[in-house]
Structures are given as structure tokens and as C-alpha cells.
Symmetry: C2
Subunit: 274 residues, 2 copies
DNA sequence: CCAAAAGTGTTCAATCTACACCCATGG
DNA sequence: CCATGGGTGTAGATTGAACACTTTTGG
């Protein structure tokens, strides 16, 4: 008996899981990957993919592992949404879930059947079925975070393959924002931020004029890591300043932070972003 | 022996703690509450207040409990920063920490000595000492989040007592943003958003003209909960729209969400914020 | 009367919004 | 030749940034 329950603690410990809200663009809609639960509780209901965090594993590492198990992909944008820990959220035992959202680009959509024969399918964010546990709340929080970031970062590019047309980019914004955008204004805006650049190549197909292909502009675009400098963002700075922030700037900041943490004390006068 | 380790699990479970980044405004600076650790590891170093999440306890509940134990306060603004779970962040065992930040208004600053005789003190965010565990990273993330929200929400009011002058409000923004703000522009801006209203009363004191007192404007100011309506925010909407978002709008949204979750499906077309 | 903080407007530049037509292609 | 989506510019309104002096009080 004690062999089957070999891990012992002085105080009760909760289980910790990661749950993934995997977004993609399909049929010009924002969609989320859901699995149909094969086991109790909530058997037969839809839920987010997820699983336990291993004892030696990073939270982000666990999220990447789950993503790989679910989709076969080792590389994708991944960002923490937060921890969800209502005591009654799982009827079996106390489970605290750390939620992440991921973005799959539309060229990687082929869905391998999940590792364990469960039904897996994409659902439009506008028609999400009833979900198990508190997963409706998690999806909601993830969608809020995604929507918050779409205009402030280059996260939209994560939905697209390396080369894409401006119309495809506009479709991403429209799907995430849930509304139509004026074509001329969008093109002016996105190009003025110079986080994309034209490749000069064309995409032909369909009976219409070919579209110019763009890609992320990786050169010379990193915003100043203001969190670690002496000149915080000016009051009421223009949107263009912040909208150009690159995806992953937080990652860059925290990496920088680790490197500089000892020597930067004198620089740490002001902070960041907005 | 087995009596002292009575909680047994099939798989190893991490411990889960909450850590608090408690902000306030002191000496016109943004400051953080730190405790000096009395025990190993990191004995004698500064750290964030925090403690284990009880098995039957909400994460938010645990954060409130820690806040109460540390400051004696039962009411304060509290918001989750995220989960921090590097496997090596605590040398004793695997500990996953869910960090929150709290804001103490300047009229509640009297520091009760912590429950257990440790040194407790305020530190300027511009001169934070070396911290135990990964607490430097947590403070950094909390400050990022605070800075992000100061212009988009009414969170600044949490730093002040119920009645305050415009200059005091300006000091909050200046401390959080880490820079001086033009007085006339600030007064126009803050008043135009109408999240505060004049009380007609005056604060006298000091040898200068008395200042008019303001308070939060609670009437008629809730922003439309766009996350749950059919009309998401327009493309590139003006800052004034979002800046008026009230503190706690996320709480309101999630409460609304629970109430409406069944009947709102048809409304769930678009989402929020800028 | 003096020091100290409260209070107040205007001008200029940048950005946002709304809006309608021609272009290049495949069939 | 025609249907389809690609591509382009301008004018008016809103907002942001810079900037200096008068007012009221307590001592």
C-alpha cells in the first residue's frame, strides 16, 4: 500500500497542472483546441489539453511538453495566463492549474490525433461549448490577454507562416478583435510600424491581382528595453511607440534582467511599457 | 515517523506558496514591503512576505490572509501577477509560487510588526536590495504589471485615501512612471476622464493656497464590459476610452461572466481593451 | 511681504477616421 | 469580359506636448 503512495509530506500539497489554450486562425475565425474527456470527472465534456507538472520540470517546460504531446509541435509562441486555484475546481483533489496560451500558425494546423485516442478538435471562439472544470474562465482570461496584446506587440505574426500577405495579417487582427477593419487604414498602420517588411515576392492564385508577400522585420527593430534604462516612456506617448514592441519583449527583458541584475542597480530608476 | 509525514501521494506534489509584492507611496516614491528572513535558506536576506497556500484555501484567499498577517489590513487592492515555478527556485523542495501585488493607500501605512518578530520595512523601488529566491524577478514582473495598468485603469486611486488632491494623484503617477509630469496637462487629462470628481471641500495646511479635494467618481462610470458584448472596441480607439476603465474591471467582467455564462453565448463575439 | 504650492489656456504637431475608385489576374 | 481580391490618398477631427504666469494662504 505505501508503495503505491510513496510521496509523503508533513502538510497536504496540492497537485499542479498546466492547461493550454491553443489559438489558431481557421476559416478566418479565432479558434481554440479542445479535447473530449475520456475519463471522469466531466467524462464526455470538452476541456483544455493539459497535464501534471513533473516535479523536476519548469512550468514553461511542462507547457511545451503538453503542446508537443497534443500537437506534435516543438516550437510555438507560449505565454503564461496565470494560476487558477479555486479549491473546488477539480472534484478529485486540490489542483492548481497554471494556464498558458499558445499560438499555432496556420501552416502548422495538421492535427495529429492526440497521444491517447481522445477526440480533439478546433472550436470557434464564438461558439465554445460548455467546458469541464473552470476551463471556460481560463479560455476567457486567455482571450482577454491575447486581445490586449494584439495591438501592442507583434504577436499577430505568430498566427501566420513566415511569409504572408497584408490581407492575411489583417484577417488575424479582425478575427482576434472580432470586427472589420478598414483596409487602407490597416495597411498604412501596419506598414508604418515597420515590424514587417516586403519581400518583393508575390503570391499568385485566385483570379485576381497577385499579393505582395511580407515577413517579420527582424533587423533593427528591438525596442529599447525601457525597464532597464534610465529613461522610462514619456507620459502619454503615442501608440506607435508601444505598438512596435516586438513579440517576446518580456522574455528579452527577463533574460536581460538576469544578466544585468548585479550591475544594473544604478540603472534601475524607472520602469516600463504600458 | 509516518505520523510526521501523514500526507501521501502517488506522484510527487510541489508545495504552493503565495508571495506578495506590497506597493505603497512613501516620500513620493514607489516603495515595496520586504521582510528579513529569520530562517534558512537565505537567512538574513530580504524577501517578499508570503507563505503556503492551505489545502482548502483560494489563491486569492491565501494572498489576503498573508496580507492581513503582514499588515493587519483586511481590505486592499490585490491582483495576481502570475506563477513562478523554476524547479531550483527554492533549495529545500519544489515550490511553485503564485505572486500577487497589493496596493496600500498612504493613510494605512502604520506598520504593525509582522506576526513573527522579523524585521519588516519599506524599500524604495529604485533601491531594492538583493532578494532571496527569485523574488527580484517577481518584484520586476509586479512592477511591470503595475506600470502597465497605471494609465489604463484607475488603479492609481488605490494609493490614496478616499479624498485626495490632484497634486497627490499626480505624485502617484510620477512615482509609478518614474518621471515628472506637466501639471497642466495632467490636470486636464485626469479631469477629462471623469473617473474622479471634485468634492467641493478643501484641504488647507502649509503656507499656500488650499487644494480642492477629489474622490473616485463611482456613479455612471463603469465602462461597457466590452468583452461580453457584441461591439468590441473599435480599431485604434483613442486612449481616453481605455484610460477610463475602472479598477477592478476584470473582477467585474469575471463576475459578470459567471452570471451570464449560459445565456451569453450569442454575445461572445468580440473582446476587449486596446 | 515672502515663500510655497494651487490653479489655469493656447498653440502646434502627430495621429486617427472615414471614405471610393482603379488594377491585375484567372477563368 | 468579368468576377475577385489587391492596392492606393486626402481632408477633417482628435489628441498629445510644450510652455509661464496669477492666486491664495500661513507665517
Amino acid at each position: 500500500m505505501s508503495d503505491s503512495l510513496p510521496h509523503r509530506y508533513k502538510h497536504p500539497h496540492p497537485a499542479v497542472t498546466v492547461d493550454l489554450v491553443i489559438f489558431t486562425l481557421r476559416d478566418e475565425e479565432l479558434q481554440v483546441l479542445l479535447i473530449e474527456r475520456g475519463l471522469k470527472p466531466f467524462q464526455g465534456e470538452w476541456a483544455l489539453p493539459g497535464g501534471f507538472v513533473r516535479i523536476e520540470e519548469n512550468l514553461t517546460g511542462a507547457a511545451h511538453r503538453e503542446l508537443r504531446e497534443e500537437t506534435g509541435l516543438t516550437q510555438a509562441y507560449l505565454e503564461q495566463v496565470g494560476a487558477f486555484g479555486r479549491p473546488d475546481r477539480d472534484p478529485r483533489e486540490r489542483v492548481i492549474s497554471v494556464a498558458f496560451f499558445a499560438i499555432l500558425s496556420s501552416d502548422k494546423l495538421a492535427l495529429q490525433a492526440g497521444s491517447d485516442a481522445r477526440a480533439v478538435s478546433w472550436h470557434s471562439c464564438n461558439k465554445i461549448p460548455e467546458l469541464a472544470f473552470d476551463h471556460a474562465e481560463i479560455v476567457h482570461a486567455a482571450r482577454l490577454k491575447l486581445t490586449e496584446k494584439i495591438n501592442r506587440t507583434t504577436i499577430a505574426l505568430e498566427f501566420l507562416p513566415t511569409e504572408f500577405t497584408l490581407t492575411e495579417l489583417q484577417r488575424v487582427f479582425e478575427a482576434v478583435r472580432g470586427e472589420a477593419i478598414d483596409k487602407r487604414n490597416f495597411r498604412k498602420w501596419s506598414q508604418s510600424l515597420s515590424f514587417i517588411k516586403a519581400t518583393g515576392r508575390m503570391r499568385r492564385g485566385g483570379q485576381h491581382r497577385p499579393a505582395e508577400l511580407y515577413r517579420a522585420n527582424t533587423k533593427g527593430l528591438l525596442p529599447p528595453p525601457r525597464a532597464l534604462t534610465e529613461t522610462p516612456e514619456p507620459f502619454n506617448s503615442r501608440r506607435v511607440d508601444v505598438a512596435a514592441y516586438r513579440k517576446g519583449f518580456e522574455d528579452a527583458l527577463s533574460a536581460l534582467h538576469k544578466v544585468l541584475v548585479d550591475s544594473e542597480k544604478k540603472l534601475l530608476k524607472g520602469l516600463v511599457d504600458r
